[in-house]
Amino acid sequence: MKDSIDISVNIAGITIQNPVMTASGTFGFGREYGDFYDVNKLGALVTKGLTLLPKEGNPPPRIWETPAGMLNSVGLENPGVEKFIEEEWPYLSKLSIPVIANIDGDTIEEYQETAEKLSTLKKLAALEVNISCPNVEKGGLAFGQDPKSAFEVIEAVRKATNLPIIAKLSPNVTHIQEIAKAAVSAGADALSLINTIVGAAIDIDKQQPVFSRTFAGLSGPAVKPIALRMVWEVCDAVDVPVIGMGGITTWQDAVEFILAGATAVAVGTANFVNPTAPLEIIEGIKSYVKMKGQSMESLIGAARNGKNNI
C-alpha cells in the first residue's frame, strides 16, 4: 500500500505531503503541466521568477542544448507581480498544495516591494528569493556571489514580509557555505540550491556567441554532481532545511540529495524531458522508504554519519 507511506516533510514551517517541488522557471505558473497530471500531487509548486515590473526577457535564442544539459537565457521574462496577482494567482490559490513565489530584483528595494505586494496574498506559502539569476543585467547573480549583499537582500525581504523566506543560492561561488550562513543569519528560514551555473556556447559557423548576452545558465543532469556537492557543503554549514536541486531526473537522484542532507528536492529541467518526472520521483521515494524500512526523516542526511561538522 504505497499511499500509506508517509514521506511528508517540513520546510520553513510548511508541511508538504512529499519532498518533491518544481524548480522556479521550469513549471511556468503551473497550468502547462496540469495538462498531463494533477499538480496537487506535488509537494509544492514554485512559480517562475517574479519582478516588480513586467520583464520582456532576452532576445532569442534563449535555449541551447549541451551534453546532458541545457543553457538558458530567458532573462526572467514575467508579467510583473501585479499582473501575476491578477491573472495567475486566482488559479494558483485554488490548488491544495503550498505555492511558493520566486522573486527577483535589480535592487534591494525592488525585492522588498515585490515581497510586500505578494505578502498580501492569503494562502501564499512562502517566498523564494532568487539571488542567483545569471541572465539579467543587474542584480540577480551579483547578490548571490557575495555574503554581504546576500545578507542585505535577505534582511530587507525579511523586513518586508512575514512569509517564510527561502533564499535561493548561486553555485557560481568559491565558498557557498559563506553565502549560506549569511542568508540564514539575515533571516532565511530555508535555503534552496543550486540555481544555474554560468556557461557559454559559441556558434562556430557564425563565429559568435550563441546568446546575445554571451553567458547563460546551465542546468540539467550534467550539473547534478556539482549540485549534490554544494548541498552537502551547505548542510554542513547551516541548520535550516535545504531544498536540493540541479539535474534531478530520477528518484535515485532525488534520494542522493536527501541522503546528502536536503529536506526536499526540486525538479527543473527534467520536466521538459519527461513531464511526469515529478510523479515518478515521488513514487520512487515512497518505494525506497518502504524498501529501506526507514522513516523519511531519518533518511535526511543519512549519508553523512559523523561527517557532519556544523
Binding site: G25, T26, F27, G28, E32, Y33, D35, F36, K48, E56, G57, P59, P60, P61, R62, I63, W64, E65, P67, A68, G69, M70, N72, V74, E77, G220, P221, T249, T269, N271, F272, V273, N274, P275, T276
Partner: protein, 265 residues
C-alpha cells in the same frame, strides 16, 4: 482543443523517402483524433540523457480512422539521426498534439500554400484538410533545391489541389523560388476571392513571403521554428519577437502566426 498527451507510440513505419528525409508513421489514436494541421509533436529521440531535450516535429498527416499520425523529418543532427534509426515495432516517446495549428480558410477565400524543403511537412496535412474538409480548392507551391529532394507529393493527390513545384536548379518543374510562382499567381488573381497565404520553410522564404503579403495587403500565416525546451509554454525558451513589443512563444502562441504579428529577424 483537446489536451496534449505523453505517449509511447508504436512505430508502424520509418522509411527514407528522399535523401536524408524520413517518413515515420505512428499509432496514436488520441492524437490522430484531435490533431490540427500546423500542430507538432515533441519527441524524445533517445532514452539516454544525451541528447537531452525533445525535438519538435510537425504533424504531416493524421488519420482519425486508422488512428495513425505521420511525421516527415530531415536528419540534421544527433536527435533526428537517432530517430531515423528506430525500427517499426519500437516505440516513440512523444508529446502532442502541441501548439496552435493553421487557421482554416474562410469559405470564399483562395488558399495558397507555400513551402520550401522540409517545411513541406506540416503543409501536407493542411492542404489535405483544406481540400477534403472544406471542399474548396487550393494552390500548393513547393520549392526544393533539386529533383531528387522532392517528397510529399503523394500526400497531395486529392481533387482541388493545384500543385506547382519549383527547383533551384530547374531539374524539375519551374526553375526558381516558390515566391516567383506566388507573385505570378497573385498577379493573375487580382479580382477574385481574397487570397490567404500559408507558409512554412526556411527563414529567407518566410521573410520574402511576409514582404510580398504585406505589400499586397494579404493575410498570411507563417509556421515558425525556434529552439525549444519544454514545448508546452512552461520554460519561455522558444521566444520570437512580437511586432507589438515583447515576445511570443513559438510552442504555445504558435508555431503558426499571422505574418503581421511577428518579427522574423
Amino acid at each position: 482543443m483537446r489536451k496534449p498527451v505523453v505517449l509511447m507510440a508504436p512505430i508502424v513505419q520509418n522509411t527514407e523517402i528522399a535523401p536524408g528525409i524520413y517518413n515515420m508513421k505512428l499509432e496514436a489514436p488520441d492524437i490522430a483524433k484531435t490533431a490540427e494541421p500546423g500542430q507538432f509533436l515533441h519527441i524524445r529521440c533517445s532514452q539516454a540523457l544525451a541528447p537531452l531535450l525533445r525535438r519538435p516535429i510537425s504533424i504531416a498527416d493524421a488519420d482519425e480512422k486508422n488512428g495513425r499520425i505521420d511525421i516527415i523529418y530531415r536528419v540534421v543532427g544527433e536527435g533526428t539521426k537517432l530517430l531515423s534509426e528506430k525500427l517499426p515495432g519500437e516505440k516513440a516517446d512523444i508529446i502532442g498534439p502541441l501548439g496552435n495549428g493553421f487557421y482554416m480558410p474562410p469559405k470564399d477565400s483562395y488558399p495558397i500554400i507555400i513551402a520550401g524543403g522540409i517545411g513541406t511537412a506540416p503543409i501536407l496535412y493542411l492542404a489535405k484538410k483544406i481540400a477534403l474538409k472544406s471542399n474548396s480548392s487550393a494552390s500548393v507551391i513547393l520549392g526544393f533545391t533539386t529533383e531528387s529532394e522532392i517528397f510529399g507529393t503523394d500526400y497531395l493527390k486529392c481533387p482541388g489541389i493545384n500543385l506547382s513545384i519549383t527547383t533551384d536548379d530547374g531539374s524539375f518543374g519551374y526553375k526558381g523560388f516558390p515566391t516567383d510562382i506566388l507573385e505570378n499567381l497573385l498577379k493573375s488573381w487580382k479580382n477574385a476571392a481574397p487570397p490567404i497565404i500559408y507558409a512554412c520553410g526556411p527563414k529567407p522564404l518566410l521573410v520574402k513571403i511576409k514582404e510580398i503579403t504585406q505589400r499586397e495587403n494579404i493575410l498570411a500565416y507563417l509556421s515558425l521554428e525556434q529552439r525549444m525546451a519544454c514545448g508546452v509554454g512552461a520554460c519561455l525558451g522558444c521566444s520570437v519577437k512580437s511586432s507589438f513589443g515583447g515576445y511570443k512563444k513559438v510552442c504555445k502562441d504558435g508555431p503558426v502566426f499571422k505574418a503581421c504579428e511577428v518579427e522574423l529577424c
